[in-house]
Symmetry: C2
Subunit: 204 residues, 2 copies
């Protein structure tokens, strides 16, 4: 009996299709700029059918967002407090630039949301993200105290990593327009490596 399982096979398939279509649409147009019809069309479903799976536009958006958040924060979580400081940070930067290249939609969705004041994410920012950043900030500061890293403002360091990497996804049109044929992702990793090498290496 289908009743016993709370999600059926069809449900699972369609929810996945919907979330992917919604990510497409929302990341391009933002929440208000997107319509339920657009998402339905992108998912290959009728509007009422879409609303059968997610009762409101808002609920689709929230589902996409919470679906993404873990993936998005994974690179920072993976920064190992037992590792070699500069290597750990460089690895984090490298993972972040890969994510911008491979998941630009995700990056843009967050960008949209935060630019507008994060009306649907403030809660998450001030709890989950803040806790994570606080934790990693302490790690970085310990590394600095141990003389393994040049002493700089740890939070601004984290912001710098976010901004430098996500810029390539969020402002992709601009970057590509100004770089012509050259693929931004060809040189970006090396550029960032140089930058953080010079910024983080302790002065002898």
């Amino acid at each position: 009996m289908a009743k016993s399982q709370n999600t059926t096979r069809i449900q699972q398939r369609n929810r996945a299709i919907i979330l992917d279509a919604a990510l497409d649409v929302f990341s391009q147009n933002g929440f208000r700029g997107s319509t339920v019809d657009q998402i339905a069309k992108a998912a290959g479903l009728s509007k009422p059918n879409l609303l059968y799976y997610y009762p409101t536009k808002e609920s689709i958006f929230k589902a996409v967002l919470s679906d993404l958040l873990d993936t998005w924060l994974d690179p920072l979580r993976a920064m190992d407090h037992d590792g070699e400081p500069i290597e750990e940070i460089q690895a984090y930067v490298a993972r972040k630039i890969e994510m911008s290249r491979d998941f630009p939609r995700e990056s843009r969705l967050f960008a949209h949301e935060i630019i507008q004041g994060a009306p649907r994410m403030l809660e998450t920012l001030s709890t989950e993200l803040k806790d994570l950043v606080d934790e990693k900030t302490l790690v970085i500061e310990r590394w600095m105290n141990e003389g393994k890293l040049n002493r700089i403002h740890s939070r601004h360091l984290i912001f710098s990593i976010w901004s430098l990497t996500q810029h390539y996804a969020d402002f992709e049109v601009q970057v590509r327009t100004l770089m012509g044929d050259e693929d931004p992702y060809d040189a970006a990793p090396a550029f960032l490596e140089t930058l953080y090498h010079r910024l983080l290496t302790p002065t002898g």
Copy 2:
């Protein structure tokens, strides 16, 4: 006779009020997320009155955009090819972070537009902005050839300045949430100065 001047006093006043109100609204909600009513209310005018000055929502948006562009590009234009390279770039960075602090609405408006693929700005990006960036790129590369700057990818350098500075305006909510009481703009200028000092100083 009023007819001889193509813009009257009232027109000048109201157009200015409208553009400011529109900047407020558009920078918060993006183009599609903003309504003509919102702008009219913010400007203290009735909707038909607003549309008397700018016949469509699109025309208001374009007016705001072109009004802003020059101001926005001024700091880069001011980079003097005859100056001391590191000083010139540091001065550019300093001006940019000041602009993020003092004109966050402008920064967010551009961010909105570009994230969405710059549908109303591509033309400008690929002409006016590209020309300016091409020109300044050449200057930077000359400086590198002269040994005055560490050799790095000049376009990525420019992108880094944009992303690092505009991040504080565009993602202000996030930055403030994660920094608590501390004002981001207290430490940001020094952080950026350190970063670019280390990045740009030629290796002895």
